[in-house]
């Protein structure tokens, strides 16, 4: 079974102080830590679990700058066989559809039975690339998948719906599945593990290698344009409890008493 996994390196913003940069279209990334997109860490783990069970290969793809090699290497250390990076200044500013389009061009050149992506990227949150990719490749798909069973040339998948209900489908291969968190427990990668794959070649392809003209990709090829970003008003309706920790604790106690939280 040959599996392709699409991954993205994203900044870790949950804990960080996010600042809008001068362009007004991006955040300042300087001080931020980056990691593999959370959903993609489950996708790569799932691919490796399937490979361990059924044999075959796992190829990871990422569209991004040189720094993306770090995430690709993490996937190699987890057990992927090959890594390919799609990189070109012309790719910058690609929207969800164009990202899928670019990924599809390299995927067409590769052998595959199954393609895994994350359900969504932590940064742009489109929730779009995997499903659009399936359509561009002309193969079936299922999104928000939290269980996979391979049966010959089909897969049985569970899709996670609202309220924890699941929907089970049978899908012919090849297919694209977008993976939901919690489907497995992504393995830990040690620094030693990363070192072992440090020398492994990561192929890089640009627009011309993929027969894509600069007009069809990046900002010029995209239907969706980011005009500006801004910080949403946070905590407008909230009363912020301030003071010494002991004072805050007392206030919380009073609130709880008042709201019926203490009986």
């Amino acid at each position: 079974m040959n599996i392709i996994v699409c991954i993205k390196r994203v900044p870790e913003t949950a804990d960080a102080d996010v600042i809008i940069d001068k362009s007004g279209k991006d955040i300042e990334k300087g001080g931020l830590a980056f990691d593999l997109n959370e959903w993609d860490s489950y996708a790569i783990e799932e691919a490796i679990l399937l490979k361990e069970k059924l044999g075959g290969t796992v190829t990871v793809l990422s569209m991004g700058g040189e720094e993306s090699n770090e995430s690709l290497r993490k996937c190699l250390a987890m057990g992927a066989d090959e890594a390919i990076r799609l990189t070109d200044p012309a790719f910058e500013g690609s929207d969800g559809y164009v990202t899928a389009r670019i990924l599809s061009e390299v995927i067409r050149k590769l052998p595959y039975d199954l393609i895994l992506t994350g359900t969504q990227a932590e940064d742009d949150g489109y929730g779009q690339v995997g499903v659009a990719l399936a359509e561009i490749l002309g193969i079936p798909h299922a999104s928000v998948v939290n269980r996979i069973e391979v049966q010959d040339n089909k897969v049985k998948v569970h899709r996670e719906l609202e309220g924890g209900l699941e929907e089970v489908f049978e899908i012919d291969l090849p297919a694209v599945l977008t993976i939901q968190t919690g489907i497995n427990e992504p393995r830990y990668v040690s620094i030693m593990g990363i070192r072992k794959v440090a020398k492994k070649e990561i192929k890089a392809y640009g627009a011309s290698d993929l027969n894509l003209s600069p007009q069809e990709v990046g900002v010029s090829g995209s239907d969706i344009r980011l005009e500006k970003i801004f910080l949403p008003p946070v905590g407008e309706g909230a009363e912020m409890l301030e003071g010494k920790p002991e004072e805050i604790a007392t206030k919380v106690f009073e609130i709880l008493k008042d709201k019926g939280g203490l009986v």
Binding site: D17, V131, E160, V168, G235, E239, P245, V252
Partner: protein, 328 residues
């Protein structure tokens, strides 16, 4: 006349809330741009739902077919391609839900229609729309525009637009014959699997103490559990805590977990992603503890505390113990 079309979302005989929200937003948009509102419903035996939809739109596009009994992206794409090709709606609205996420990107790619996903704001702007969506788990808002002329497609975040009652519209029913066949479907619906029932029903609790990824490790959970116990409440959590198997799935609050409405909800180390907030915004009083002053959870909180949970939670517990004692 221009048409804005809402794709109704329903499951097991019931229309989902996002449908009313889209119809309400759609109504607002058609009134502002001078268009008509239609709603497409695909399914089998959906007439009770059609009755409910009628007053909400100028037209109900009704596709009844045995093959549409259960949602399947493949049949949905085929039928909606047919409808959109025929009627050329200026704008199609679809829910950004487990269902909408599953077919909208493919449908848009197939029809080569620009798609903006997970929108929380839609404003007419000349011959187009200006959209608001969120980046980085809700910490940043973005304004985005379409670069092409219409038709457009937008997926709408659940809960982003209120469902407002307005005087009824004609709701003319337009039956549409689908051209799908059961042969050669590459994706086949098999069954639903119900969410597992757990031992604790967090939806019944008056007080929920809820933890997120900020708890860092399973071994820190008892520290917060004690707070829940002191308050006579239950412990709930955000999704990553369940993904890491630190707590069972039945404790998860949010779109893919439970919807809770306790009197008091204390969110500890939870950033406030919309999928989480959707499950708890109905709570009476929300108290949020987070070390990040920009955490989106503070937008739904009544009271906010910017602090390290490992410092503040023990102090709150001590205070409760102390004051409980003096009272008794």
């Amino acid at each position: 006349m221009k048409e804005i079309m809402v794709v109704a979302e329903h499951r097991r005989g019931e229309l989902r809330d996002v449908t009313w929200e889209m119809l309400s937003k759609g109504r607002d948009l058609v009134e502002r741009i001078g268009a008509e509102l239609s709603v497409a419903i695909l399914g089998k035996g959906v007439s009770p739902m059609v009755d409910l939809l009628k007053p909400k739109a100028h037209r109900v596009l009704l596709v009844e077919d045995d093959l549409l009994e259960n949602y399947n992206s493949e049949t949905y794409e085929k039928v909606l391609t047919q409808i959109i090709t025929d009627r050329k709606p200026y704008l199609t609205l679809i829910g950004h839900t487990a269902t909408g996420m599953d077919f909208a990107p493919a449908l848009a790619a197939h029809l080569k229609i620009p798609l903006a996903t997970d929108c929380i704001g839609i404003e007419p702007e000349g011959e187009s729309f200006l959209l608001t969506r969120q980046l980085y788990g809700g910490k940043v808002n973005a304004q985005v525009s379409f670069q092409k002329k219409g038709p457009f497609m937008i997926t709408v975040r659940s809960g982003a637009f209120p469902a407002i009652e307005k005087d009824p519209l004609p709701g003319e029913i337009l039956p549409i014959l689908s051209s799908i066949s059961g042969e050669g479907l590459a994706k086949r619906f098999l069954q639903y699997v119900e969410a597992a029932v757990g031992e604790v029903d967090i939806t019944q609790a008056d007080i929920l103490v809820s933890i997120g990824r900020g708890i860092k490790d399973a071994e820190n959970i008892p520290m917060v559990k004690e707070l829940a116990d002191l308050l006579g409440g239950a412990l709930s959590c955000s999704r990553p805590v369940v993904d890491k198997k630190w707590l069972p799935k039945d404790r998860q609050v949010g779109t893919s977990g439970k919807t809770v409405k306790p009197k008091v909800y204390i969110a500890i180390g939870i950033s406030g992603a919309f999928q989480h907030v959707a499950g708890m915004k109905g709570a009476g009083t929300v108290i949020a503890i987070n070390k990040d002053p920009k955490a989106p959870i503070f937008s739904v909180a009544k009271y906010g505390i910017v602090a390290d949970l490992f410092k503040i939670v023990p102090l709150i517990k001590d205070k409760i113990k102390e004051l409980k004692k003096t009272k008794s």
